[in-house]
Symmetry: C2
Subunit: 343 residues, 2 copies
């Protein structure tokens, strides 16, 4: 089934089930008022939501048009957001660009960072940044939402805790990263509010596209209307979501509604780090990566980071070109008194 | 006023107001079912809770005994937990012990880390750790809970966003830190579930003890019944909570119920890094710090990290020795199938 959270003036929105086509939705608030409430009692809520989704497909219940612009992030705020760097190709490229060797352990010991989860931007709302010179970048990723996951969960047992799959724009402020990582305690200011796709989808609904804890579809990024990347999220993912869950439950449990991210999706091309779409390659899921390629090839980056007014679109399509999760589509805007709506 | 969250079998517990003496409490669920719900609508809820607290002091309403062991952390789970290192003395000591210089900017640019907030341990429940050799340590800290704080908030404007004050045990696994920080993305496995004091207190209730965004009381740590530390949280705090809030809202807003921590409370003694309580000093708020002193003085640490069965108690007292926030009191226990209660 497919679930979404509609804007209704409250912090946590209103839960709806969405048709496979993304054209229609049906109110689910009689089952659970919010997605978090459904996840808190998933064992009870999920079967009821599944039945509602079937009724929606059969047009057997009252339904309304689903507009992606009306959606909040499926969890508008969450209790846990931990993001991996599962596409080690991406990490290796970053290091290469600055002439640093990547430790061999990066291929066996997952790298994750603890994200902030109190304010996720709706998938069609602006990326608000106070300064255009912060090095504004998108990062196209996949993420899963878990149920309650015990401490010490193994990779083999982790699969059953994955309840929903969605896409991510893990907005990053590249020019703030060196100073922040230099202080040694990880990202904070350099990772502003994250955005998730309008729709979250159960693994069973994804069928063959979900395999061994990976999403086997291309992640399509479009920058200002131009194709930017289409790497396959199922390829070159060194650590599956199950492996990431094993890693993040080594010393703590995860509460229902925890979000675990894949890190920037990135494919190699044979032994090379791949080529831009404009050169016939699969392209990239963030600007930093193409800048690294440019730096490796010609000594300096050519593609600028995002400016005010630039728009990034991130989605995954089925074989006939229909959107699976809906599209994240965001324009960068400056911080103004009215930009954050009512603050 | 003083607020607490009682265990009631649900994830978020039940909101109560607590008497100044911590002896009594009164149900507040008719005003807001949970502390998060109260914070989500603080403008409406706070005045009603204040009236209830006054009625409780006057014994004008039904009341019941308040037992700290019945309390969850005031927010049993939260959407944001960001922890500073405001006592730069602590940071300087850590560096000194390993022979590293601390950058001068650490005195002007706050250091924070993004914590995980989906699972806070109740203040009298065990610290569950899967391996005794992880270097189990407590960290005694102060924290504030904010309302909605806009992006770009200044230090001067930040004070009014501080709604509640509490104490923290920021449990740390010291032996996992070097590898994790070495990977460059900050803490994750090395920071397991955090614990907060049984009671959260409004700044106005603290009176003179709350001044300029700092708590002017000693933070008393007792390890296995022996005095371990009593540094004053109002002294040597280089960055006030208002300054920390300015820092953490540079590129994002904070959602209501965000928790901002001070980092380990630590006092200098003149120009020296202080002495253990056993030598007549103010002691320390974590084991790592006394081990650093021992390393500086004699080449190697003497005090071991915590073992299974060890108990840490953290509290702050008024002039007559009564607890202000209630006490965090936790015993370290191994991970067993039943240790995490029903997982």
């Amino acid at each position: 089934m497919k679930l979404a959270t509609l804007k209704n003036g409250t912090r946590d929105g209103r839960l709806v089930v969405v048709s496979k086509s993304l054209a229609w939705c049906a109110d689910a608030s009689h089952i659970a008022p919010t997605l978090q409430a459904a996840l808190d009692d998933w064992h009870t809520a999920a079967p009821k939501l599944e039945l509602l989704a079937q009724d929606l497909e059969h047009e057997a219940i009252p339904m309304m048009r689903f507009h992606e612009r009306d959606a909040l992030s499926p969890l508008p705020r969450a209790y846990q957001w931990v993001d991996g760097s599962a596409y080690v190709n991406h990490v290796e490229l970053v290091r290469k660009a600055r002439g640093a060797e990547m430790p061999e352990t990066f291929w066996t010991d997952p790298l994750v960072y603890q994200g902030g989860s109190d304010d996720f931007t709706p998938p069609r709302d602006a990326i608000i940044v106070p300064d255009e010179n912060f090095g504004i970048d998108f990062e196209g990723e996949v993420a899963v939402i878990t149920g309650d996951v015990p401490m010490g969960t193994t990779e083999a047992d982790a699969h059953r805790h994955i309840k929903l799959v969605m896409l991510v724009n893990d907005v990053s402020l590249r020019n703030l990263i060196p100073n922040e990582l230099g202080k040694g305690f990880g990202f904070y200011q350099s990772k502003p509010a994250t955005t998730f796709s309008p729709v979250a989808v159960t693994p069973d609904e994804l069928g063959d596209w979900w395999n061994d804890g990976k999403l086997n579809r291309a992640l399509v990024s479009t920058l200002n209307g131009q194709p930017f990347g289409k790497p396959d999220a199922g390829i070159d993912m060194t650590f599956s979501f199950a492996k990431l869950i094993e890693h993040v439950t080594k010393t703590r449990r995860l509460g229902a509604g925890a979000i675990v991210g894949s890190g920037t999706v990135s494919n190699k091309e044979g032994d090379s780090p791949g080529r831009p779409v404009s050169e016939g390659g699969l392209g990239y899921s963030c600007i930093a990566e193409i800048r690294m390629i440019e730096t490796i090839n010609s000594g300096k980056p050519a593609t600028p980071f995002m400016s005010f007014g630039d728009t990034i679109r991130i989605e995954a399509l089925d074989d006939s070109g229909h959107s699976i999760f809906g599209a994240i589509e965001q324009t960068v805007q400056p911080l103004t008194p009215s930009a954050l709506g009512g603050q």
